[in-house]
Symmetry: C2
């Protein structure tokens, strides 16, 4: 394509509101333009990349037997009311009325629509399992749209839905989709992890998020440095490997600790490490009050606490309740001599401690030489803390490291959540009506594009991986006013096109400096420059990523490019 | 693809609300399902056809240098207010508020968004001409959605926009797009006409609608039986070829015509043909009253009347005004002795008449032996009537016939309508700011799919043209319980796939009758049936459209299919 005829407006300055590289570079290089907060147009080269990502997603979906279809963006509110999500989805769901005042949701996701379709059209186990997918714009009214394509309000998504006759069958479909997702993100050149995630309110069993590792990610992942293990930090179990010291328990002492509030202050004051203190926090777990005790250097994981009590709601007790129940406020709490109204649980690590310190439930005082079992009782020891960097990996291989991640995909065992509420049943091989077992599987296509840029850029611009670059070759004529340069460049352009190579041809009458800067910004992997040696038939070839450059004869170019892309 | 694993729900009965074949057949054959009035899901085989139509559209757009991009469906109301269309588009435009109460239009069309983008990004004549397109779902809240995909509320559309520096340049772009559209509809196998259309309120100069000829079309086209001339009937000029008879004008007579109201009644009563009477109708044209006189067998074309007076509004005068100004009501009007308040114009055909009849502007009376020039004066003769079947074609070739058409495409010279209101200017080669000259070009992609079915079906189902069939081959195993049939069919399926042929494989355990009926309904061009002669390696091949069938050896099938599709 000739650049002079294309809408690729490049900018010298970063957009004022852009905080991250993908937002800055995609805007500056003319891939996207913002229309309103969180709403973007994809300009022609942006659209090309989007379609390449789409094509890879589509291919891998088809390989695992998912069939493409297309549901509308206008979703009747009646369907959302059947599952209760008309209310629970909240203000992220965009809504509108038609001219007859009928209410619609603007497609944020399509579980309701597909379940409504399948319940009408699928009657027998013979028609199962069934997996369908679509690629279309989705709408979510984010409270704070930001980070360009990473958190938008209208975005391109691939969503897939599976219907199975049993949980075993769902497991198979889930595994296929999991593998397809791994292939997709691998083919896109991404450094990612499939992360064990929280199934949240959906009540599903398994769920994995596919996270692209990136400092700008909004989620923290705990992963093994040697295996493929990875989990959202709140989901990673801690392997209990605490050994009790041989130290003899001493007699507990009460010590004045005036003005020492934080764990660190107290530890410093008492002259020991953080791990020699006990942290005690009072929670309200549904209707009960629970004092949770951990080692001073550990953090309470409220998801684990919630799971331990199978609770609906877990929150910090108020300072008022804390004073009433324990006699002191935050910063002075401890497990010694706690009344009957408060249950005491502790993390496994606490069980291995001897002669440590803790709050005395009295402002300005702490105990030292406290030993569990001797000085206080614990109702139950459990895994109640967040995993830490350096902990052994839960799968037994390697140690845990932390990284930030951008969620680009999500696979989810929905189970019967939707099918039960919407009465999607089938007749099994005994002629009995059973509820369908569902899964859902999403990929943020436009978000993935941004995630690629987060991993593939340098100080001069984008450095696309080969599979998704908008063009394969960026052809530059350094000075199109010189006849020999223009002629050779024109000829090379035709030759490359004839060879089936995707070329962007910078035929503009711009200074060489502008052209090179734009070229680096665009990030097309191979650049071919027709310059001073045009009359000899010699052109320069440069790799965008490595910066490696060579002079080649013009008739070697097609071979070079084909070879480069097949390598 | 194996049919047993796909969502292709066929129906025996037509949907209750389906009035036309495309709606009936696409629903019954499992291509589409309605979600709400005018809102459809495309099931997997429907989506395949849609993508094939899309691919052809995309190819032809790219050939003429249009670049694909993607604008959002959420369009800020501010942009629509700039052009005034926030008001004038009316209730077809779907609207919504975001969580901050900001108003958006749901993309019905994208002139405002693209103009807003281009005015920011394009500064110089060097960047023009520029043509972009996108393929995406559009939203229009039709008052009466009906006819399935023909008049929906959410539908797939290709829209393109061009920006030029001059009207001459626009003419070139327009012609390229016109040719691309012709190629697209030709490749889709459609019998269509490019029809001169009314540019309506847009003030544009040229506009053509691409109409697929079909009895169910909502528009009437006048076309030449021997040339490519076609126009919306209100747009077709009438070539004046009326010859005056040699008859001598006689003296006008006033005749009682009690109870004779219509032209036909009067003609019968007076014993002459319709063409021997004058029709006179009083119009209000802006602020003036105009009596329009045509031959009795002709119809007044109000678009032509409007153009003659360069008027904004043309409507029938009220019966009250008519009585006040002419002394009689509808059915008794004529051009004789009309007062000064009323202007009299007539169609060219009237000028050739001698000794005809007309209303006497008095209830129950007509004049006979009326001759223009002698008995009444005409201010201006002009082309004021609708063209009729049998009239000479305006291009001088052949005679006019009428047909009904489905509008599938529209090319439009917008001129400065949007760019002026939105201040989209560029610097010309003199450094002077000029307003951009725009064009817009639409294709209803999902509507086109329905139009294809209207032209390609028979009493048993759809008969897809080769280019857009969801699959190339429908492979049926007549009785998959018989080992030899199943084995040969499985093997053929693999062989066809390996040869790169798109196959739908009916591997279901259904009766042969059901499979054949479904196959006819789907309309895949070539059917291969593995039946009784499987053990001999013999299969049956049948063409869907002609019904022609042959027995072939299984190893001839790939060659047969490749040959069939390259023919």
């Amino acid at each position: 394509m000739k650049q002079s005829q294309m809408l690729i407006p490049t900018l010298k300055e970063d957009p004022a509101d852009a905080e991250i590289q993908s937002h800055k570079l995609l805007t500056r290089a003319g891939y996207i333009r913002q229309i309103a907060a969180g709403i973007y147009s994809f300009l022609p080269i942006g659209q090309r990349v989007l379609r390449k990502v789409e094509a890879i997603v589509r291919e891998e979906m088809e390989k695992v037997g998912a069939h493409e279809m297309m549901m509308p963006a206008l979703e009747p509110s009646e369907l959302w009311k059947e599952t209760g999500r008309w209310t629970t989805f909240g203000s992220e769901l965009m809504r509108l009325h038609d001219r007859n005042d009928r209410e619609f949701a603007l497609g944020a996701t399509h579980e309701e629509v597909i379940t409504s379709l399948v319940r009408h059209e699928v009657k027998s186990y013979k028609q199962l399992p069934l997996t369908v997918f679509q690629i279309q714009n989705k709408f979510r009214d984010e409270a704070r749209p930001r980070f360009g394509l990473l958190r938008g309000r209208e975005f391109l998504m691939k969503d897939a839905y599976s219907f199975n006759e049993s949980y075993e069958s769902l497991d198979e479909t889930y595994q296929k989709m999991f593998d397809a997702y791994s292939n997709i993100f691998r083919r896109l050149g991404l450094n990612f992890r499939a992360v064990i995630a929280d199934s949240g309110a959906m009540g599903g069993k398994d769920t994995h998020e596919f996270m692209v590792l990136s400092e700008v990610g909004e989620d923290v992942i705990a992963y093994s440095d040697t295996s493929r293990y990875a989990a959202n930090i709140e989901m990673a179990p801690v392997v209990a490997t605490y050994e009790k010291t041989a130290e003899e328990p001493r007699a507990m002492e009460k010590i004045e600790t005036p003005g020492q509030k934080t764990m660190q202050q107290v530890a410093d004051y008492l002259g020991h490490g953080l791990e020699q203190g006990l942290k005690a926090i009072l929670f309200q777990v549904d209707e009960e009050f629970v004092l949770v005790v951990t080692r001073g250097d550990h953090e309470v994981n409220d998801v684990k606490l919630k799971n331990l009590f199978d609770a609906d709601i877990v929150e910090l007790a108020s300072e008022e309740d804390t004073k009433r129940l324990l006699g002191a406020g935050f910063g002075s709490l401890g497990p010694v001599a706690v009344g009957e109204e408060v249950r005491v649980v502790a993390d496994h690590a606490v069980n291995a401690l001897v002669n440590v310190s803790c709050g005395a439930n009295e402002e300005g005082y702490h105990y030292t030489n406290v030993t569990p079992g001797q000085d206080f009782e614990v109702e139950e020891y459990a895994d109640l803390r967040f995993i830490k960097e350096g902990d052994p990996s839960p799968d037994g291989e390697g140690t845990i490291k932390f990284a930030r991640g951008i969620e680009v995909g999500h696979v989810f065992k929905l189970g019967e959540f939707y099918s039960e509420r919407m009465n999607a049943t089938f007749l099994n091989d005994q002629g009995k009506a059973n509820t369908m077992i569902m899964g859902s599987y999403g990929i943020g296509v436009s978000r993935t594009l941004a995630a690629i840029v987060e991993q593939y850029h340098d100080e001069r611009g984008i450095t696309w991986p080969a599979n998704v670059a908008p063009y394969q070759v960026h052809l530059l004529s350094m000075n199109p006013k010189k006849e020999d340069q223009k002629e050779l460049a024109d000829q090379l352009y035709d030759t490359l096109l004839e060879a089936g190579i995707e070329v962007l041809y910078d035929d503009r009458k711009e200074r060489a400096g502008v052209k090179f800067a734009d070229s680096d910004l665009f990030g097309i992997p191979v650049r071919v420059t027709v310059g001073k040696r045009a009359s000899e038939g010699i052109v320069e070839v440069k790799e965008r990523t490595t910066g490696e450059q060579n002079e080649l004869s013009h008739d070697e170019i097609v071979g070079y490019v084909k070879n480069w892309y097949s390598a």
